[in-house]
């Protein structure tokens, strides 16, 4: 027998391949078989398709193709929509002018950031305008895009008019633009703050469509919590109206958290177990009980501590963002669950 050819790994790649051979040998020694894709040692159970396992447990559904822009868009859109509503109502009820101005700024910022996020997530961003070929009432994406367009135009107009008014003093055309922009941003802001719940609720992803009736309310409350939080961080920590809205949003989010935890459906598992479960819980805690407790503490503290409200505000904003990330993550986990589409949901006669 001739001597084996001496191996002198002289570059990183061949070194890596040599190490891989060592790894394979070590694993074979230790476990008696290799756990790599495609390797099925003789006598090992071969993968089987069956009514219980489906087709080798390969998931039927495709995962959402969306990138990080989409959960962020849900967050920004929710906060901007609710903020526009707060600004308009504050104006109509004769509240603090600063509050109205700041609420408009948040809405206007959202009106720029939201479409940017939505467009950059498209597979073909340059074809965004194709969205405006049609209006389809049965497509939440189509309804949402038109709502976004209306909202963005209105919120930007109201903020621009407000700026002109501050800079050059009042004039009739500016007042008309301001009032029309504000009224329209209120009208579009109401659906814009929660439609993303409809968007993911009316899909084939089990964890989303199982909650189709909850998601818009949940996302609406989440957006309101974030809008109130942003306004408080901008200095409105003495506004009783914002405190009341913040308490309302936190209370609703607490109830939503209890609803998620107490119902037991296989579809809801991603909201309770694994990484997606813990992200959901973190978002829920920061949106519900934590700001709730801080706001209550502030109510009963001396001088109604604005400092506690600052913490409540930051908690709500973080909670709102994490909640959107959690739902999108849960959607991915749900799509990967090969068992769900194999269950028969038809009502038995």
């Amino acid at each position: 027998m001739s001597d084996p050819i001496p191996i002198r790994p002289d570059n990183a790649e061949s070194l890596r391949r040599e190490r891989r051979l060592d790894d394979i040998r070590r694993e074979a020694e230790r476990h008696g078989q290799l756990q790599v894709v495609g390797a099925r040692p003789a006598g090992a159970p071969f993968p089987q398709a069956s009514p219980e396992n489906g087709y080798y447990q390969i998931p039927l559904l495709k995962q959402p193709p969306w990138t990080w822009e989409i959960p962020l868009y849900f967050f920004v859109g929710g906060a901007a929509g609710a903020s526009a509503v707060i600004g308009a109502i504050a104006d109509y009820t004769g509240a603090d002018r600063e509050l109205v101005k700041h609420a408009r700024w948040i809405a206007a910022a959202g009106s720029v950031i939201s479409p940017a996020l939505l467009i950059s997530d498209l597979g073909r961003p340059e074809r965004f305008l194709a969205m405006m070929r049609v209006f389809k009432i049965q497509s939440p994406m189509s309804v949402g895009v038109w709502t976004l367009l209306g909202f963005s135009t209105a919120a930007a107009a109201a903020a621009f008019a407000g700026f002109l008014n501050d800079r050059y003093g009042p004039s009739l055309p500016v007042r008309v633009l301001e009032n029309a922009g504000q009224a329209a941003s209120l009208a579009f802001g109401l659906p814009f703050s929660n439609y993303t719940g409809v968007l993911i609720g009316a899909t084939a992803i089990p964890v989303w469509n199982k909650n189709a009736g909850d998601l818009p309310l949940h996302f609406g409350a989440s957006g309101l919590g974030a809008a109130v939080g942003l306004l408080e961080l901008m200095g409105h920590r003495r506004s009783r109206a914002l405190q009341a809205l913040g308490l309302g949003a936190a209370l609703f989010e607490m109830w939503e958290g209890i609803r998620i935890e107490t119902r037991s459906h296989a579809e809801l598992d991603p909201l309770k177990h694994g990484a997606s479960g813990w992200i959901t819980r973190a978002g829920g805690m920061l949106s519900g009980p934590v700001p709730m407790a801080l706001r209550a503490a502030s109510l009963f503290s001396k001088k109604r501590s604005p400092n506690l409200r600052r913490w409540a505000a930051m908690s709500s904003i973080a909670g709102s963002l994490i909640t959107r990330l959690a739902w999108v993550h849960a959607g991915h986990v749900s799509a990967r669950d090969w068992k769900l589409p194999l269950t028969d949901n038809r009502r038995q006669p």
Binding site: P65, N194, G197, G220
Partner: protein, 262 residues
């Protein structure tokens, strides 16, 4: 011009993948990459952006005496999967650009020059068929060979199938054929032969029917696929309530705030 359909008969499929090859060649669909799945002779896994026809290799526990398998060997059946071209299509309803249309042949077609890759059809397909092409950004799936049907030709996969496992024709005619075939299989002792065509669900039937033996779930065919539009009413009602609460809550909060004075 008539409303057409596929009838894919898994009892005739020999797993040659001619349909996959024919589909890729005719439609210019790219390759799927070379990765060993470990699942029988199937290294593709599922239909997707670059796999419009997909042959499933279904290995099951041995059933001695059925299908001629020896007791110690696995039973082995094949079935060519494809877009179901639903009567109530989730992707078609969801598409915000109007890129996805229903053709005069009853199929569901994505116009590639309109699609902007929003990805909403991907999450709206109850069969997990539509997928966004990573390199291209747009959504792709089986076109039902719209170009071929336009000029009176049958789809590439059906034409290439050597055993006529993939049948193509007028939909009601094929429904009759499917029933006849299942009756014949049952007469020959294959009691578990059945048609998969979910007409009793919200997708209201498909333009791609299947004949399978045993439980369709073994072939990853869902027992109760639902078109996502069934959730719209519930979701928009919730949205309206949320908007009402926000408006009412904001009014209440600011009106009572104003009266208190500061």
């Amino acid at each position: 011009m008539s409303v057409t359909a596929f009838l894919t008969d898994s009892t005739l499929c020999i797993g040659c993948k001619a349909c996959e090859v024919a589909c890729k060649e005719w439609n210019g669909v790219g390759e799927d990459g070379l990765e060993w799945s470990g699942y029988s002779y199937d290294n593709t896994g599922a239909v997707g952006a670059s796999t419009w026809r997909h042959v499933k290799f279904v290995e099951q526990a041995p059933v001695p005496g059925v299908g001629g398998n020896a007791g110690e060997q696995a039973s082995w059946t094949f079935s060519s999967d494809v877009c179901k071209h639903c009567e109530e299509a989730g992707c078609l309803e969801a598409c915000p650009t109007g890129s996805i249309v229903r053709t005069e042949f009853g199929g569901v077609f994505i116009q590639p020059d309109v699609c902007n890759g929003c990805g909403y059809c991907v999450v709206s397909c109850p069969f997990g068929v539509v997928e966004r092409n990573q390199s291209d950004g747009r959504a792709f799936k089986c076109t039902f060979c719209y170009d071929r049907q336009k000029v009176g030709l049958q789809p590439a996969c059906a034409k290439a199938c050597p055993t006529e496992s993939i049948k193509f024709g007028e939909i009601e005619h094929l429904r009759g054929e499917a029933k006849k075939r299942v009756d014949e299989l049952r007469r020959r002792g294959m009691d578990d032969a059945q048609i998969y065509d979910p007409t009793d669900t919200s997708v209201a039937g498909t333009h791609a029917m299947f004949i399978v033996r045993g439980d369709p779930r073994t072939y990853n065919l869902p027992p109760s696929p639902e078109v996502p539009t069934v959730h719209l009413k519930n979701a928009w009602r919730s949205s309206a309530i949320a908007a009402g609460l926000l408006l009412g809550g904001a009014l209440l909060a600011f009106l009572t705030d104003g009266r208190d004075g500061r």
